[in-house]
Amino acid sequence: MEAVAFWVLALAAVGSGVAVFVVGSMARATFALLASFLCVGAELLLIGLHYLGVLVILMMIMEMLVMVVFMVAYMMNPAGLMPMTMLHNERGAFAISGTAFAALAVGIFAVPWPARAGNPPRDPTFALGESIMGSKMLVMMVIGIAILATMIATVVLAAHRGRYDRDGAS
């Protein structure tokens, strides 16, 4: 049962990932990407990562809705009324990504992976919370600073030039 769910979700995740770059409209591409993320979130739920799975699902729904707004704001063809392709160096990109996938697949099946150490805790969410508030707190602090820096940097980048730096604005 779990194996069937895994394969169905895996095929759906990769399939909608491919659809992102195949469909003719940006809005459809965004929702295809959202479908791929939802499948990955469900895969995390399958192996017992309930918090992280739900986090991926909720966060990606919001993120993709924001992305749709940007699509409509920037794209010449948000609704796909005029089908178009916007690719450059398609053959090179296909060769590089195909080679990368082949190399990764060979590595995945050739490497002797270490044996499983320990068993999943009864509540992985509790274990995660305990570790980011304990021994892995530095990670959480760095993430916090990075989010703050990103908020400042995005506002600085996206805001109109103010009256104090109009010489810098070209």
Partner: protein, 101 residues
């Protein structure tokens, strides 16, 4: 469900994203490719946690970092697109080749 199949899914997502990041002309579509690549990393991290070291929470912390990176990448990407669009009316990678060697 084994570690190998989980990693294969991760590799497939990563390489589809790599194709998009290399081939798309629109900057927003390029960012979608990057997001798909990080999506693959999330799957790989979760797979390693479950099949290699479920006893410690390190793998989960790594997945948490990857999810944060995904959100920050998109926020910064949109800010850069906005700045670029304001300054030059550009939303294609080919028009923003200033650093091309």
């Amino acid at each position: 469900m084994t570690l190998e199949t989980f990693l294969l899914l991760a590799a497939a997502l990563f390489c589809v994203g790599l194709f998009g990041a290399l081939s798309q002309q629109s900057i927003v579509m390029l960012m979608m490719g990057l997001e798909l690549m990080i999506n693959g990393i999330v799957v790989a991290g979760a797979g390693f946690w479950y099949w290699v070291s479920p006893g410690s929470a390190d793998g989960q912390v790594l997945v948490l970092v990857a999810i944060t990176v995904m959100a920050l990448e998109m926020a910064m990407g949109f800010a850069v697109v906005t700045a670029l669009f304001r300054a030059r009316d550009v939303d294609l990678t080919d028009d923003a080749g200033d650093l091309k060697g």
